[in-house]
Symmetry: C2
Subunit: 337 residues, 2 copies
């Protein structure tokens, strides 16, 4: 069987509703399988209908419980739901995640729910690329809502969460987390803020702090978007409190975007994905067999710094390539960005 047949076949099976094909294609994305691009091309006309919701926040803020309850709520509305749990430091993220995942697994008896976790060790360093690919695959499968949940809030998670249409940042009272969230830039990425564990002491204060911070920052609006005022939702996910308000917020944000720059925003996210793929491919070409590894080691033997050697290789690449890659672009492509 030729490669093309095989990738087209598995893509067709996915489109026919085969969950095993869905799982397999997500693994292909994770492992950077050489046939994944061909499979994705077959799926592509069906990609773009799902709404992608990123759920992030510091460990212990109750993201997993919130995600689990949100799945239940969305299912009540008969929507199909996919969950992609991102854990760049797996398998050492601690027992909490595992416990929550087991609870979540109760929902997997439900055919309308698909749950998958993704750890960076399996994704060859391309976690954000793989997560975006996995969303595309779930989207083509016909899933209505994709919840991208991260375990922590490091750089890897920020990159992953960039694939979401709506980003929910979950905080909870305690240890100056409001101020830390601002420092960490969480307010900058939030479309909706949730103050979870709202029954705990300090929740009211955290909410006030966040509202103040949002007011100081002013209303954010992407070019062409209707103004979107980031709501602060008081919730207690464990007791099901505040989830209806969160859901209303999610719907509001979606409507605002769909009336605005949704297509443009998604294209920017896809351009980022192109950038990741180009980066991975160039890295392979330059450093795989027949690449520059030996030349680099030989130059390093002559006491050159890594930067000197890098420059030497870049000069060589540019020399072979003539002018710098972009400089041969036509004038329309060179307009300032």
């Amino acid at each position: 069987m030729s490669r093309e047949t095989s990738s087209a076949e598995i893509a067709e099976r996915l489109l026919a509703g085969d969950r095993a094909a869905l799982s397999r294609l997500i693994s292909w994305a994770e492992n950077a399988h050489p046939d994944f691009p061909a499979a994705l091309a077959t799926l592509w006309p069906r990609v773009g209908r799902a709404w992608r919701i990123g759920i992030t926040g510091p460990p212990g803020s109750g993201k997993s419980t919130l995600t689990s309850e949100l799945v239940a709520l969305l299912r009540r509305g008969a929507a199909t739901v996919g969950v992609l749990a991102i854990d760049p430091s797996s398998p050492f993220s601690g027992g909490a995640l595992l416990g929550d995942r087991i609870r979540m697994d109760e929902r997997t008896a439900d055919e309308g729910v698909y749950i998958r976790s993704m750890a960076s060790r399996e994704s060859h360093g391309g976690l954000a690329r793989a997560a975006s690919d996995a969303c595309d695959v779930m989207d083509a499968f016909g899933i209505d809502f994709i919840l991208l949940e991260t375990v922590g809030v490091g750089q890897a998670e920020y990159d992953v969460i960039g694939a979401a249409d709506t980003v929910v940042v979950v905080l909870c009272p305690g240890a100056g987390d409001g101020i830390q969230a601002m420092k960490a830039g969480l307010l900058e990425v939030a479309d909706i803020l949730v103050v979870n564990k709202a029954d705990l002491e300090g929740a009211d204060l955290l909410e006030l702090d966040l509202r103040d911070a949002l007011r100081l920052r002013g209303i954010r609006a992407a070019p062409g978007d209707p103004a979107w005022e980031v709501p602060v939702v008081s919730a207690s996910a464990r007791d099901g409190v505040g989830l209806d308000v969160l859901l209303a917020g999610l719907e509001g944000h979606r409507r605002a975007l769909e009336a605005g720059s949704n297509a443009e925003r998604r294209r920017r996210k896809r351009a980022l994905q192109v950038r990741r793929v180009v980066g991975e491919r160039l890295d392979e070409e330059l450093w795989g067999p027949g690449g520059f590894t030996e030349r680099a080691e030989s130059s390093l033997r002559k006491s050159a710094t890594p930067y000197d050697v890098a420059e030497e290789i870049l000069v060589h690449l540019r020399g072979v390539a003539g002018p710098r890659p972009a400089e041969d672009a036509s004038p329309t492509e060179r307009s300032p960005s």
Copy 2:
């Protein structure tokens, strides 16, 4: 003042023992400052004398306490010590790190100790590149031992720890961490294993498990290296127990490497650094102003998948560059690797 003067000046100040210059150059590394490569070139003849020790393991295993006690022990031997604490998910790594850092700060009154933390959000995604640069700078400053301590054990931490000459993996009894460590590949990177909190129940069992696993795997030896049998050190860092054995293990590993392939191993690590620098630079050139962003967005508008667009750009680059980058290398450079 010209750029060259300025970077040479600050490098000279560092070489004269100025701690402010050391801090500034590490910040330059972190921020990918354009003058950093020139400064590093000035420092380069003095780089290579420090021994770099990576300390990693799951959260809660007591890495920070161990690091802190190791600093004290090394100081007793009159060595100077640098600590680089790597926290890719800062500032949400939790209170434990902060608490330990404050304890550690007691040592910073000591002129022979330099402590610095590095978070990925400040290093423009190039955490491993920045950490390696920071080690080089500390090395040139004349620091004898550099401890690279990671908060967790995700992919980002693995990349960072690759800069170390000796990798210490710290585990502690509880929750099947021994088995998890094997799954996470921690045994593969360990030159020395520490079973910390050895007074806790399960420590003996964990030690036995680890010894069995090491026996099954056989003795690892890099080409040209004398065989190195990974020791399993039973410790209780909080009470200062086992640290002398750890220190003996560190010295033993260093001696074994210095009699073996140390220079070759370091060259391989530096070649990896070249790869990171080339990757960062190409990414900037391809996607900065005048790059391929608009071309990508325009192709995406025509319903191409991100992989199709990436391929289009790569074909364009190869077209401009003639044959693939490596294929014009001289025959000696093309020998199989």
